[in-house]
Symmetry: C2
DNA sequence: CCAGAAACTGGTATCGGTACCAGTTCTACG
DNA sequence: CGTAGAACTGGTACCGATACCAGTTTCTGG
């Protein structure tokens, strides 16, 4: 293997010192136009690609921004990641993604590993990290943004919305629209703590309004359209007189819709289905589904911006919450 | 900010040299059990997290594996990424994702930047990189895997399937099942070269079979369920007598189905819809849709494995193609 | 035409690890 | 009990960049 081209090679080729070459390759400050051109040309000629590892070690900080999400298969996080990507794009920073699969242990390992790359900042999902993970995040004074969830106190900054409020609002809206016999369908509540939280608050609110949940179907494993379909089937078998079902998310609700369509159950006349997230998919379905439209792209964008902001200050200035209210849509 | 804990601190706390501490912290070879314990304890006590940057610089190679995909919003790539993630998990390597948005320039920048992190290997999407990008990939002798596409010669290894064959097979299968008046609906063909390739081969094959395409609707912008829905509407308006539509992918086909359901067009009796990818979503839809089930998870897994394999050899041993045949499903 | 400032240049130390090699301490065996 | 070899330990020289500072050149105004 032909040894990698280094800055020293570029400097030699350009007939200048390593330092001048170094300065020329990044901001062209304090370098004469003549040398700047020579160095650029030399770099081009010999195919210099640089070495971020050395650069990062040298100034004790990389231009990486770590992003930790629980899942890739959930399109919600894809959209958040896209938002982050777009906001970072062009700033010279680079996102690095890690996936926890909703596993707290794994989250700890990932955060730890990311920290060992001395990132410029970290974006993690939720406020419910393990104590060990929180300790890691706290000890360092690097910018940390916790996204999706604002029901709690962040380590540094949180960007998202209150899952509790979102569920409460939906419960109120459904009852206000005349629904009385309401059921619940969800998946993966052991791990998806946000979904679990919504379910609890939803049920509570219904209770307070005097129309408690009639029944629910909950399954383990990842949520999916398929799971939504068969859980709905099961729920409606036990409670054929439901006039509304609240789902842990849109995919599940879509599955519910497909069940209804296959069984001649009118949606939303006979039964209103309510999902969560407001995926684009919903607007194309043959029947309208209620949902809470969450600002995913914005969460990503604001989270990235918060990191970039923080990089200008030296210290954290106390927990900051950036609330991005979701919007309810009824059929 | 309290200066970061370094290996020297650990060594001091444990009362050993930096070298012994270093050895203890990774494979415990050539370190006495006594010192191993001392070092581990010291590291634990003072909260040592390590510094991959320094380690990577030292041995001139990081444990990063760069993964370049065109899009995050396409679930296909999410699944490929999941496959990669799972295969890498536990090996000590770490994936770093980059998104090109189907932009060749951006792809070049991303590959370049990734190379500057001296990754252990690189996984990129497709075989159609720009010349500049290919040069980058060629010059280095690091493991490179090009995924999704095997219609061409890879730089090093390619893992995927032939888009051409896949389209041809579907055309043959649809005609064999009795379909004669066939249309096409697609999106984003300028950028998604794989989808474009399928369209061309599909049309060619139909021609050869004596039943050429009756009509097609093509739009710019990302593919989506919504786009599928309105393009189908437009196509069927112009050609109400179609008995089959081939889509650029499953999402589009799902949109087509929703249009048909909303307009009392029987699927698949009156018109067969054929997507591409075989997303799980399809199995839950109220009507069956034909598709080509692509082995996305496997592509990810095999790609990662190929990288790990390569790391054991020193040199590349000529272009290698790993073909993972997709499977056709008719309604 | 010269002093002083501004613009530019390059040497050296350093970032936090690891490879390599030269000791030093054990251990086992004749 | 001596010694060869294994097991272990630590010093030193990097890896490839950048910060800092000192030195040199160029420019400016009086």
């Amino acid at each position: 293997m032909p040894r990698k081209v280094t800055l020293a090679d570029v400097a030699a080729a350009a007939g200048v010192s390593k330092m001048t070459a170094s300065r020329a390759m990044r901001g062209a400050k304090d370098v004469s136009q003549k040398n700047l051109d020579k160095v650029r040309k030399a770099a081009q000629d010999i195919g210099y690609v640089g070495n971020h590892v050395a650069a990062s070690l040298s100034n004790n900080r990389s231009d990486l921004i770590g992003v930790v999400v629980p899942s890739l298969s959930n399109i919600v996080f894809s959209e958040v990641m896209s938002g982050i990507e777009r906001a970072i794009d062009g700033t010279g920073f680079q996102p690095v993604f890690g996936v926890t699969d909703y596993d707290t242990e794994k989250e700890y390992d990932i955060v730890r590993r990311m920290l060992s790359w001395r990132p410029a900042g970290l974006i993690v999902t939720g406020l419910d990290q393990s104590d060990a993970t929180l300790r890691l995040l706290q000890e360092d004074s690097l910018p940390v943004v916790q996204i999706m969830d604002t029901d709690g106190t962040p380590v540094d900054v949180s960007v998202g919305f209150s899952q509790d409020n979102a569920a409460e609002e939906m419960a109120k809206a459904l009852v206000a629209s005349g629904r009385r016999r309401i059921g619940y369908v969800g998946c993966n509540l052991d791990q998806d703590t946000r979904a679990a939280r919504r379910r609890i608050r939803f049920a509570q609110t219904l209770e307070e309004l005097g129309h408690p949940l009639i029944g629910e179907e909950i399954a383990d494993g990842m949520s999916s359209v398929a799971a939504g379909r068969w859980l709905t089937s099961a729920l409606l078998e036990r409670h054929p007189d439901l006039d509304c079902i609240y789902y842990s998310n849109d995919d599940m609700a879509a599955g519910g819709l497909f069940h209804c369509m296959g069984n001649n159950i009118k949606v939303p006349e006979k039964v209103v289905l309510a999902g969560f997230n407001g995926l684009d998919l919903l607007t194309s379905l043959p029947a309208p589904i209620a949902t809470t439209r969450t600002p995913r792209d914005q969460i990503g964008r604001r989270a990235a911006e918060a990191i970039l902001d923080r990089l200008n200050r030296t210290e954290r200035d106390g927990p900051t919450v950036i609330e991005l209210a979701p919007e309810i849509r009824l059929p």
